[in-house]
């Protein structure tokens, strides 16, 4: 197309949205049957560039509608309305082992969405786009308050929805990576929950906290003036699942209203501490495998699932609904095997009505809120040691799993914490 041709019209709506909201990307005023490339570019807080692209052909009206049209090549193929986000991957020449995780949830990420003439696969920087529009993606919704918590011995960040409430609450537990990860809690607050992201693991040392720490955090939430005391849930991923299951089964102090457990296992020494779980992993370190790129596979460290009851949480004791989410290609934890065993144990205990399993073929370990880029392997530091861990999953099925599981998680939380749709099943 020459310079004198009309410029295509690129529209991205909403131009400012939450990370879990869908984007509607359309291009109009192209010549009909025109090959174009839609490209997304994000400059992360860490200074890396992430990009994705899809190859499209305009229809008879000269339009491309990403929500309806198939990408015929690029970072993703097929009809993928959100492919330009979840298909993001580090640009050529980037440092290896990157993972996209926003630390500052109060500021947005800016995604540059461009249209290029033809089906381009590289060198986007050197080309002139036909059109470009910026879209912002936020974790923090307007009106949500972010409060740093350093009291009663607990460290975390509390996110409160707008208004007086009282709100149901969620204790949000991330995994073995440690530190304080806020973005899921920020999103949960956008959906009407007081959410406490809790720091409980460091990257350098063995965990030193015990059950009392989590019970204190849960109680802090329960007693908060804007929280509905009898509507507090546990939400765990990976290690966070271990903590959640242990608390739900054995704590005499707290009673979670429901549990969301992602990519985890019930296998842990009963009555032991978090540190004991680490030690258990350590004892089985010889079961570590490596893929063809020398990336670390840890899924066998807890296998086979023990039959000895002292080596796994007696999930039959759990008295609240549990949503258990697993990726069938999880290379980090034996989540699928654990889920099967848990299902059996709950059936034997007459508690199957409480247990819902969501199992996703092609999904890996890091099942996060939707539309963030899928990462099959990344750098990981634990106990001061660096490794490149294989999380598993393939981009398309993993991203679909994130979208589907998040929708079902929100419906599950609404049902059990807000009482929405109580007559309908999940």
């Amino acid at each position: 197309m020459s310079r004198r041709q009309p410029s295509p019209l690129l529209s991205v709506q909403p131009c400012r949205g939450l990370w879990d909201e869908k984007l509607c990307i359309t291009v109009q005023k192209l010549p009909p049957g025109q090959e174009v490339t839609l490209h997304s570019l994000l400059h992360s807080e860490d200074g890396d560039f992430w990009e994705a692209f899809g190859h499209y052909v305009s229809d008879a009206t000269g339009a491309v509608r990403v929500a309806e049209d198939a990408s015929v090549g690029g970072s993703y193929t097929g009809v993928e309305p959100m492919g330009l986000l979840w298909g993001l991957s580090p640009a050529a020449g980037s440092r290896p082992g990157l993972r996209l995780r926003k630390k500052d949830v109060c500021s947005p990420s800016t995604i540059h969405i461009s249209v290029y003439e033809g089906h381009v696969v590289q060198g986007f920087k050197e080309r002139k786009a036909l059109a470009l529009v910026d879209a912002e993606r936020w974790y923090l919704a307007p009106g949500v308050q972010r409060i740093e918590v350093n009291e009663h011995g607990i460290t975390g960040t509390l996110f409160l929805p707008a208004g007086f409430g009282p709100f149901p609450a969620i204790l949000d537990l991330w995994g073995g990576g440690g530190g304080l990860v806020e973005y899921r809690s920020a999103l949960l607050a956008a959906h009407g929950y007081a959410a406490l992201a809790l720091q409980y693991l460091s990257q350098k040392e063995m965990p030193s906290v015990g059950n009392e720490y989590f019970e204190a955090a849960f109680t802090f939430l329960q007693n908060h003036p804007r929280v509905c005391g009898n509507k507090v849930a546990l939400f765990g991923l990976s290690f966070g699942t271990s903590v959640s299951l242990g608390l739900a089964a054995y704590s005499t102090v707290i009673q979670p209203r429901c549990l969301v457990c992602v990519s985890g296992s019930h296998v842990q020494p009963v009555g032991g501490s978090l540190a004991d779980i680490f030690i258990q992993f350590g004892k089985n370190a010889h079961k570590t495998r490596y893929d063809d790129q020398q990336r670390v596979i840890w899924r066998d460290l807890l296998l086979p699932i023990p039959t000895d009851p002292s080596q796994k949480v007696d999930v039959g004791r759990i008295r609240c609904p549990v949503l258990f989410i697993v990726g069938e290609d999880d290379q980090n934890w034996p989540a699928s095997e654990s889920a099967e065993d848990m299902e059996r144990m709950m059936e034997e205990a007459g508690k199957s009505h409480l247990f819902t399993k969501l199992s996703y073929p092609g999904a890996g370990h890091l099942i996060e809120p939707p539309y963030g880029p899928h990462v099959r392997a990344s750098n990981f530091i634990t106990l001061g040691t660096k490794a490149m861990l294989l999380w598993g999953g393939q981009a398309q099925p993993h991203s679909h799993a994130q979208e589907d599981s998040w929708q079902k998680t929100l419906a599950f939380l609404e049902r059990h914490l807000y009482g929405v749709g109580v007559t309908a099943g999940l």
């Binding site: 310079r3 004198r4 009309p6 410029s7 019209l9 709506q13 909403p14 131009c15 400012r16 949205g17 939450l18 909201e21 005023k29 947005p108 800016t110 540059h112 461009s114 002139k128 786009a129 059109a131 470009l132 529009v133 910026d134 879209a135 912002e136 936020w138 919704a141 307007p142 009106g143 707008a162 208004g163 007086f164 409430g165 009282p166 709100f167 149901p168 956008a190 009407g192 003036p225 509905c228 005391g229 009898n230 509507k231 609404e414 807000y418 009482g419 929405v420």
Partner: protein
């Protein structure tokens, strides 16, 4: 722990707290998108109410000047306990009917506010923040004394992501330039406001968010102390959008002399029953002398003329008719499109802006309240429809016309 709304005060004899809602299952209120451009629609959805339950949806905004503006609508939840503003009717309040944006365009100053207010954003790089709340029952006053059942906050932006704002102070020109993100080339729009003077940026910011390089031009300082003329010089617009204006002014005198004309015709100003100033007769009857009106027969570019039929400030409807006649006689009427809106007043602004029927105006140092006209609902419809058509018009003539004139490169 007693839920807060269990302690809501009674009002008008009716207890506002419902025992059914006296548990912790509070209703869910969502506004999507939570951050939008001012001309984007939002969706307000409530769920988890009991069925057939009366609630009031309320919007509250504190302006940059510190005044509070509010709007509200009465709803009844459906059999599933939901209220969805784009499907359910408001049964009363500041707007009625199925009006998903009613909580914005029917905003008005809260009782007890200063008089003659107009809502206009000065700082366009920050959003307008609106708090949407839901109250028990059908309530029409004293919202500040009640505890809401639920609330959500939404941001309304004039500037899209990536739009840049540049102060222009050169070559004797004072203005603000807004640049869209992207490689260009872009078409440009020169944005000129009216007799109120000063530098008004929000429409230009919004146009840039739609892909136009737009300059908001200050040509009348707010205090009207400048008397210098505006040089037209070489001016060959690709197209022209004219809102609530007229072709009537002395063409051989400085354009600002129109204020002298108003002064001379002051006996034609009227006052309504509230003592608000009505200026529409000042240029009536429309002059027939050619020296008193722009010869629109000379115009060579497409012209979009937008008028409100209840404009009490300027005789824009009559002017539009006269322009049509002149252009028909000159043979260029194919360039003219008139959008004439019944019930709309003078201040036809970007969509969902609250309708202002009358507001304070400073006239040669004197404060008056000017009657702009319009009724809220038709005026809001006019703003929404005309903006859509303005964008289509600009897109068509600036980006997709067959005329081979080159576009500017930044």
């Amino acid at each position: 722990m007693v839920p807060h709304f269990g302690e809501a005060k009674s009002h008008g004899g009716a207890l506002l707290a419902s025992p059914m809602l006296g548990t912790c299952a509070c209703p869910l209120l969502e506004v999507r998108p939570s951050r939008g451009l001012v001309d984007e629609k939002f969706q307000i959805a409530v769920e988890n109410l009991p069925p057939a339950h009366k609630v009031t949806l309320h919007s509250l905004h504190q302006s940059e000047d510190g005044d509070f503006w509010e709007a509200f609508g009465f709803y009844v939840s459906d059999a599933d306990g939901r209220v969805t503003a784009d499907r359910h009717e408001s049964l009363g309040g500041t707007y009625e009917g199925v009006e998903p944006m009613g909580l914005l365009w029917s905003l008005r100053p809260v009782p007890g506010s200063r008089t003659g207010l107009r809502l206009r954003k000065k700082h366009v790089a920050s959003p307008m923040v609106v708090c949407i709340s839901m109250y028990e029952g059908h309530v029409s006053q004293r919202f500040g004394e009640l505890v809401a059942l639920a609330c959500a906050v939404t941001e309304r932006w004039y500037m899209g992501p990536g739009v840049r704002r540049v102060d222009v102070r050169e070559g004797g020109v004072t203005g603000t330039l807004f640049l869209p993100q992207g490689p260009g080339p872009f078409a440009g729009v020169l944005d000129m406001w009216g007799g109120g003077g000063g530098l008004v940026e929000y429409r230009a910011a919004l146009l840039a968010s739609h892909g136009f390089v737009t300059m908001a031009l200050e040509y009348l300082p707010a205090d009207e102390s400048r008397t210098a003329d505006i040089e037209f010089g070489y001016f060959d617009p690709r197209c022209c959008v004219c809102i609530s204006g007229s072709h009537v002014h002395p063409i051989n005198k400085p354009i600002l002399s129109v204020f002298e004309e108003i002064k001379e015709n002051f006996q034609k100003t009227r006052f309504d029953e509230n003592n608000y100033l009505i200026w529409r007769d000042v240029i009536l009857p429309l002059p027939s002398e050619p020296s008193m009106k722009v010869d629109v027969g000379r115009i060579r570019c497409p012209l979009l003329v937008i008028v409100g039929q209840d404009d009490q400030n300027w005789a824009t409807v009559e002017s539009a008719e006269d322009m049509q006649k002149m252009m028909e006689e000159a043979g260029n009427s194919h360039l003219l499109t008139i959008l004439s809106y019944p019930g709309a007043g003078h201040l036809i602004e970007p969509p969902y802006s609250p309708h202002i029927r009358a507001s304070n105006f400073v006239l040669r140092g004197d404060k008056v309240i000017m009657l702009w006209g319009g009724q809220t609902k038709p005026h809001a419809d006019a703003q929404e429809d005309s903006w859509k058509k303005i964008l289509e018009f600009l897109q068509l003539h600036l980006y997709h016309s067959q005329d081979p004139a080159p576009l500017a490169r930044l």
